[in-house]
C-alpha cells in the first residue's frame, strides 16, 4: 500500500520557484564541491514555499543543481517528509516503525481513518486533513507518535487523538 499522498493535481506544472528562494538555493549549493549536495535543504525550502514539491519545481531544481529530474525525484520519493501532492491544512503523519507499531500505532491509524473517513495517502474532501504513514520520527521513548504539521503528539491513545482533533479548527 502506498503511503505517500496520491497526486490530485498531477498537471500542476506551472509552479515557479520564486527568485528569493532560488537565490537561497544557489547560495547553499555554492558551499559544496558538487551542487547536488544541496538537494535536501533545497527541497525543504521548496516545500516551505508550496507546501509540497510540484513537478515543475523538480525540473527547475534539477537544472539549478546540475542534475537530472530523475535524481531529484528519487530523493523526493524516498523521504516520506516530502509531499508529492498538495496536502490538507493539517498534515497528520503517524509513525509506522517498530516501537510505534509495538505500542499500537495501527490502532491509532485505524481510529484516524474511521474518524476522518480517509485512507493513508488521502486528503479529506474539505482539504482540512491529510493522513500519511511515515518512517521513524525519532521519539521511540514516547511511542506511539504522530506529527501534525510541525507539532509532535506523543503517548497516543484513541481518546487523546479525539481531544487533539477537537482543538484543530
Amino acid at each position: 500500500m502506498s503511503t505517500t499522498p496520491t497526486p490530485f493535481a498531477a498537471n500542476a506544472t506551472d509552479y515557479k520557484i520564486p527568485d528569493k528562494v532560488m537565490s537561497k538555493i544557489n547560495e547553499i549549493a555554492s558551499q559544496y564541491p558538487e551542487k547536488n549536495s544541496a538537494m535536501l535543504p533545497a527541497l525543504h525550502l521548496i516545500q516551505d514555499e508550496f507546501g509540497w514539491i510540484p513537478p515543475s519545481a523538480v525540473r527547475q531544481l534539477a537544472d539549478a543543481l546540475d542534475t537530472t529530474p530523475n535524481k531529484v525525484y528519487a530523493v523526493v520519493s524516498f523521504y516520506t517528509m516530502f509531499n508529492q501532492a498538495p496536502v490538507g491544512k493539517y498534515h497528520i503523519q503517524v509513525c509506522r516503525n517498530v516501537s510505534c507499531s509495538l505500542l499500537g500505532s495501527k490502532h491509532i491509524v485505524d481510529h484516524l481513518t474511521s474518524k476522518l473517513g480517509i485512507q493513508p495517502g488521502q486528503t479529506t474532501e474539505n482539504k482540512k486533513f491529510t493522513l500519511s504513514l511515515v518512517e521513524c520520527l525519532g521519539a521511540c521513548g514516547t511511542a506511539p507518535v504522530m506529527m501534525i504539521n510541525d507539532t509532535y503528539y506523543e503517548n497516543l491513545t484513541s481518546g487523546k487523538v479525539d481531544e487533539i482533533l477537537n482543538t484543530l479548527a
Binding site: 502506498s2 497526486p7 537530472t68 530523475n70 531529484v72 528519487a74
Partner: protein
C-alpha cells in the same frame, strides 16, 4: 605491486588494487554477479558475489573488495553458498511466479542462479508484486514486478548513454525503477536504445514484441510481405541458436526468411551503400558551400532523438539523410511497388534490426507518405531468433541463398556499418573518390576501428585536411558535442553510434552481449571486408543503376524527396 593470495586454497599472484572478483575470473573461478557491469565502478548492491575472507567476521562483496597481500579467500564455502541462496530466496519472495510465460525464460540470470544454488522450495512467504506494466513506449516494455532492483539499467542509461531516463524511486518494499513524477517511458527522455534490456538480468525490461503482426501478415494472402535485414544481423543471429559469437550466416538467414514465406528478401546494406552516396555528397556540398559543420551522421535513431532532446541547436548539423532502414522502406513502398505494379497499401514491409530504437523510428510520422508508413514492423535480432524457432527453422542447418535483386546487392562498405567507425570508414572510401577522382591508397582506415569510445583522425583529401571523429555510445557523443559547442572547429564529420560498439552491440541483439562478443561480431564484419572485392559503396552496381533509372544523381530533387528527412526539437 604484485601480491600473493590464496583463493580456495590455491596460491595465486594478484596486482594491488585488483578486486577479488577480477582475480577469481582470471583464475577460472566463476563468482555469480547480478549488479556488476564491465568497465563501470562496482555498485555492490546485490551482494550475490559475496565471498569469505579469513580473519573477517562478515562476508565481503568480491566485485568491490580489493585483494591484499596474504589474503585467504573462499568463494564457494558452505557459508557463502548459504548466503547466496538466501539472497535469491529473498529476491524470489516478491518475484512473480510466471517463468513459463516470461520473455526471458530461457536466459534469465535470476532463474539460472536459483537453479545453480539449489533453490527448490519456497521458504519465504510469497508477496505478489503489484506494479503497473509500462507499455507506453513503441520500443520497450517495462515490468517493475520482475525487477530485482540491481540498478544496472539505471547505470547504463545514465553512465554509458548520458540519458538518465530511469531511476530507482521510492523506498523499501515499494522501491521500483521508474520515471520521474510517475511518468511513463513514452513521455520520458528515453531514446529507445534498449541498452537497458541487455543489462537487465530478468524480464523486467524487454523489447515491445511485434512478432504476431509479422505472422499475421505472412498468413494474409492479400499482403505482399517484404523483409530487409540490417548489416549487423547476419553476424549475430547464429548466437540465438547457441552458436559462438562472430559467425556470419547471411545466406542461411536469407534462405530461412524465404522458408517462412517472405516474398522478397532485401539487404539493408544496399541502402547503407546508398546512404554513403547521399551522405558523402552532402558532406562535400557542406564543405564547398559553407553549410553547417561538423556534419553528424544520422543512421542511429537513438542518437537522433538524443540530439532533438538534448542538443536541439545541433539538429542542423545532422545529415538530412534518412537511415538505411528508412531509405529501404521508402524504396520498397515507392519505387519497388511502382516497378512491380503492386499497390503500396498491400505491401507489408518488415525490417530486421539490431535495434529497439528502429521501432520508434519506423513510426515517426515523417517516415511515410499518404498515410502509409514506409516500414510497417521492426523486429530485433532476438525476435527473429524466436520467430525462426517458432517456425522450426534452424539457422545452423539450412542451405544458404542469395538476397533478392536489385536491392540485395551490397558492398562490404555497407556491411561494416554494423561496427562503430564503419559508417565513417565507408564514407571516407567513397568521399575520397568523389572529391579526388582517385582511390585511397589503403582502404582500411584503422584509426576509426575498434571499441574506443572516441576515435579521431585527420585524413588528407585533395587539398583539404578532413577532421573526423567517431563516438561510440551517447555519453561519448556528449563529450564531442560539448567540445564543438565550446568552439572546437577542426572537425568536419562526426559519426555517432548510440550503442557502445555500434549496431553489433545494439539493444536488439542477443541477451548475453558482452565486450568479447562485440569484438567477435565486429571482426566477422571486417573479415568479410577483407575477403571480398567490392569494398566501396560507389561501386555497387545496383546503386549505380538506381541513380541511372530513377534518382539521377546524389542530392537530386528525387533523392531529397525519397531519401532525406528533417528533424524536430523535442523539449524534455
Amino acid at each position: 605491486m604484485k601480491m600473493q593470495i590464496e583463493l580456495n586454497n590455491r596460491k595465486l599472484e594478484a596486482e594491488s588494487g585488483e578486486t577479488i572478483l577480477s582475480v577469481a575470473k582470471r583464475a577460472g573461478i566463476n563468482i555469480p554477479t547480478l549488479c556488476y557491469l564491465e568497465h563501470l565502478k562496482p555498485a555492490g548492491r546485490c551482494r550475490i558475489c559475496v565471498v569469505e575472507v579469513d580473519g573477517r567476521k562478515d562476508l565481503v562483496p568480491s566485485c568491490s573488495f580489493p585483494v591484499s597481500d596474504g589474503m585467504k579467500i573462499h568463494t564457494h564455502s558452505p557459508r557463502v553458498l548459504e548466503a547466496r541462496k538466501n539472497l535469491i530466496e529473498l529476491m524470489l519472495a516478491n518475484h512473480p511466479d510466471d517463468c513459463l510465460y516470461c520473455n526471458r525464460n530461457s536466459n534469465c540470470d535470476l532463474r539460472q542462479l536459483a537453479d545453480q544454488l539449489g533453490v527448490r522450495e519456497r521458504e519465504l512467504v510469497h508477496v505478489e508484486p503489484h506494479f503497473e506494466i509500462d507499455n507506453s513506449s513503441p520500443s520497450l516494455v517495462r515490468d517493475p514486478n520482475k525487477c530485482i532492483l540491481c540498478g544496472k539499467c539505471v547505470r547504463v542509461c545514465e553512465e554509458i548513454q548520458g540519458v538518465a531516463a530511469i531511476e530507482l524511486l521510492g523506498r523499501g518494499f515499494e522501491s521500483f525503477v521508474g520515471v520521474e513524477n510517475n511518468k511513463n517511458l513514452a513521455t520520458s527522455r528515453c531514446i529507445n536504445c534498449g541498452q537497458c534490456i541487455l543489462a537487465c538480468p530478468t524480464g523486467a525490461l524487454t523489447e515491445k514484441s511485434q512478432i504476431q503482426d509479422v505472422i499475421d501478415a505472412l498468413n494474409d494472402p492479400e499482403k505482399y510481405v517484404v523483409v530487409q535485414h540490417a548489416p549487423a544481423i547476419s553476424v549475430t543471429l547464429a548466437e540465438e541458436f547457441g552458436v559462438e559469437a562472430g559467425i556470419d550466416v547471411d545466406g542461411a538467414m536469407v534462405a530461412a526468411l524465404r522458408r517462412m514465406g517472405f516474398d522478397k528478401v532485401f539487404d539493408t546494406s544496399f541502402t547503407a551503400d546508398l546512404t554513403i552516396m547521399e551522405e558523402g555528397s552532402e558532406l562535400v556540398s557542406r564543405i564547398v558551400n559553407g553549410g553547417k559543420l561538423p556534419m553528424l551522421t544520422s543512421c542511429s535513431p537513438g542518437w537522433i532523438k538524443f540530439v532533438e532532446q538534448f542538443y536541439p541547436d545541433f539538429t542542423g548539423n545532422l545529415s538530412t539523410c534518412k537511415s538505411p532502414q528508412q531509405m529501404m522502406g521508402a524504396i520498397i513502398k515507392r519505387i519497388f511497388a511502382q516497378r512491380e505494379d503492386i499497390d503500396p497499401a498491400k505491401i507489408f514491409s518488415v525490417s530486421i534490426m539490431p535495434c529497439t530504437a528502429k521501432k520508434f523510428e519506423a513510426g515517426r510520422p515523417e517516415m511515410g507518405e499518404n498515410g502509409i508508413q514506409d516500414v510497417d514492423v521492426v523486429l530485433t535480432t532476438r525476435e527473429l531468433g524466436r520467430l525462426l524457432r517458432m517456425y522450426g527453422i534452424d539457422i545452423r542447418n539450412i542451405e544458404p541463398e542469395q538476397a533478392d535483386s536489385p536491392f540485395g546487392e551490397r558492398t562490404t562498405a555497407g556491411k561494416i556499418f554494423g561496427a562503430t567507425g564503419g559508417v565513417m570508414e565507408a564514407a571516407l572510401r567513397t568521399g575520397y573518390y568523389l572529391v579526388t577522382g582517385e582511390l585511397m591508397e589503403h582502404l582500411e582506415i584503422t584509426p576509426v576501428r575498434g571499441l574506443d569510445g572516441i576515435k579521431e583522425s585527420k585524413i588528407k583529401v585533395g587539398d583539404l585536411e578532413l577532421g573526423v571523429a567517431v563516438a561510440s555510445s551517447l555519453s561519448k557523443a556528449r563529450i564531442l558535442l560539448d567540445e564543438v559547442k565550446k568552439g572546437r572547429s577542426d572537425l568536419h564529420f562526426i559519426e555517432v553510434m548510440t550503442c557502445p560498439g555500434g549496431c553489433v552491440a545494439g539493444g536488439g541483439q542477443p541477451i548475453g552481449t558482452n565486450v568479447d562478443k562485440i569484438k567477435a561480431r565486429s571482426q566477422a564484419l571486417y573479415k568479410l571486408d577483407d575477403s571480398e572485392t567490392m569494398r566501396m559503396s560507389h561501386e555497387n552496381p545496383s546503386v549505380k543503376k538506381l541513380y541511372e533509372d530513377y534518382l539521377g544523381k546524389p542530392l537530386s530533387e528525387k533523392s531529397h524527396h525519397l531519401l532525406h528527412t528533417h528533424y524536430e526539437k523535442r523539449p524534455i
